[in-house]
Assembly symmetry: C2
Amino acid sequence: MATASPVTFDLLATDPSSRGRVGMLHTPHGDVPTPVFCPVGTQATVKTLAPRDLKELDSRLILANTYHLYLRPGAELIARMGGLHRFMAWDRAILTDSGGFQVFSLQDLRDLDDDGVTFRSHIDGSEHRFTPERVVVIQELLGADIAMVLDECAEPIDRAYNIEALRRTHLWAERCLRAHTRPDQALFGIVQGGVFEDLRAESARVLSAMDFPGYAIGGLSVGESKADMLRILDVVAPLLPADKPRYLMGVGSPEDLVEGVFRGIDMFDCVLPTRLARNGAVFTPDGRLNLRNAQFKEDPRPIQEGCGCYACRHVTRAYLRHLVISKEILGLHLNTVHNVHFLLQLMRELRAAMQQGELAAFRQRFLARYRVADAQARRENRQAWGCRETR
Amino acid sequence: MATASPVTFDLLATDPSSRGRVGMLHTPHGDVPTPVFCPVGTQATVKTLAPRDLKELDSRLILANTYHLYLRPGAELIARMGGLHRFMAWDRAILTDSGGFQVFSLQDLRDLDDDGVTFRSHIDGSEHRFTPERVVVIQELLGADIAMVLDECAEPIDRAYNIEALRRTHLWAERCLRAHTRPDQALFGIVQGGVFEDLRAESARVLSAMDFPGYAIGGLSVGESKADMLRILDVVAPLLPADKPRYLMGVGSPEDLVEGVFRGIDMFDCVLPTRLARNGAVFTPDGRLNLRNAQFKEDPRPIQEGCGCYACRHVTRAYLRHLVISKEILGLHLNTVHNVHFLLQLMRELRAAMQQGELAAFRQRFLARYRVADAQARRENRQAWGCRETR
């Protein structure tokens, strides 16, 4: 615990118009300018993208899911194949979640106690057990640059449950920290506490005292209202150490990225851009388009005028609609390329705005133009979470 | 008809040990070294591959299917979007088949007369009619570099039916030739006649007299035995003009490509490499592997040692098996990259062998090593043909 962390963070600039920060995350697999959006590679692949595509998009840090890889193909197998980087041919940085989020999403299939959680596989129903120590071992076998502690992702609006869950989450964070040994991997803590400001503040203080090299904010990507998420970020971010990276887990949409950066978040991950793409929905500065709509049948424009992604530089909405309607895999790939590019480009623009000290104005312009998907679409996106998110 | 063809063929070398030929096909969208294997882009996309991937593979000529594109998104729409090249962002050469093969595969859904064929869409059951003239118009709207005449793809072993079908095929070839006007597109004839040497010879003579800029040999990719195919190639190839390209439609497997080139064929197309890839089967010099098999679970080798494709340069059989078992799209893509590379590389090696005058020895070595998939697998491959081949 006393040794230097293999992942360090340099705070390069702060935006005077907000809590926004520009930084650089140094990892054993390269530097990552922050704020950063991490595409999600649940099963050791960011769906429809090869490593060459992610490099063309200049993605520096991607996520992989411990729960999924533990079940299939197995962490030991990946270790014997040289670790996750070599297995998936990705020589840049990787972060693995702890699997807690997925296990708690199993609901009826799990059994919790203070020592850990027993659950059944969504693939074959077989029984498994995650403890803080076991989750650290699994993540050390996978060998990502950043691992996460096992936390309890509680129903965010049940106060009594959150008090109990937070006690366990802090206990587990300490046990993970003690168990962690891999010198080329950093272990981040996770702040929980539901929608309750006092619990969140307590969690931030308790975890800060444990001196993790980075801090995540969990439990804000599902179930709660957007107002709750922003309110909690306003409370938690100022309580976290300024010289450590802050990671908002499972978020998000373009508007949530802007709001998160505005509140001092440095790292984000979400399946939204890749999942939406496979449903035919693509981001533009004016909001989402669904390419299945008949209005795009003969639309000769790219998804987004002036966009630098491969899809926008080469094909029209009409062609993409044809691919989506014809169930062609290339349509899923090109939409994914665009959506991931859109979020990575948004992060580049947010960094530039902060370097100019103009994040507040950028946020105002962005949110005035970007038509947020309606409540129904938001609800659907947030419902499709956890371990069932494999397609 | 008297104007110069926009597609010309230079015969560069002949192999003294076989009927094999090395040539160059000149098209409005670039030169194509022959013999060439053309990946199939049924619905205006070679399944799972973007144009950038096909260029990385150095594919020079791809196929698209008139029947499918006529039904969806429609030839007029593609014409209004600037033609097929621009629509699918492919600036190299394209060949469209006439749609006859797909329509005749519809069996119970078609109604044939001397003037044309009426059929129902496999998508929505709507009624349509192809005549020789209509099929030329549709292909001129699509705007490929090479279009094909409408032919009747008859049951290959029914002699009486083949005599009747051949009469119609020759009648339609002439009508297509008269109807064709697009100056930047060549129209190729198609030799038919089933498994009957005299009918095939007659067809080769009749069509040669019509002076097409290129000749296809149809009806040899389904239903007949491999021995029949080779016997017919031995009869037909020598009867076709030496200074025109010869195209064996719907073939094939690695061993069929070698046998076809050995008999003087210059062009091939087949869905086999892309379809097999999506089923988890990949080519190697020793035969096919099915990556679903448990034996590959921890196999640290690439699909093929020394292969230059992106998949073999970056990932293991174990990773590809994981992707296939986990139903990840990247697995379909990487397997497709390898299989298309394998056939394009085989064609490069065949050209080199002929330039050395050593095709017979190359063929012997290749066939001695390449374990041909069993009869059952061959039958399955050949059954999955025609318009139903969209997944």
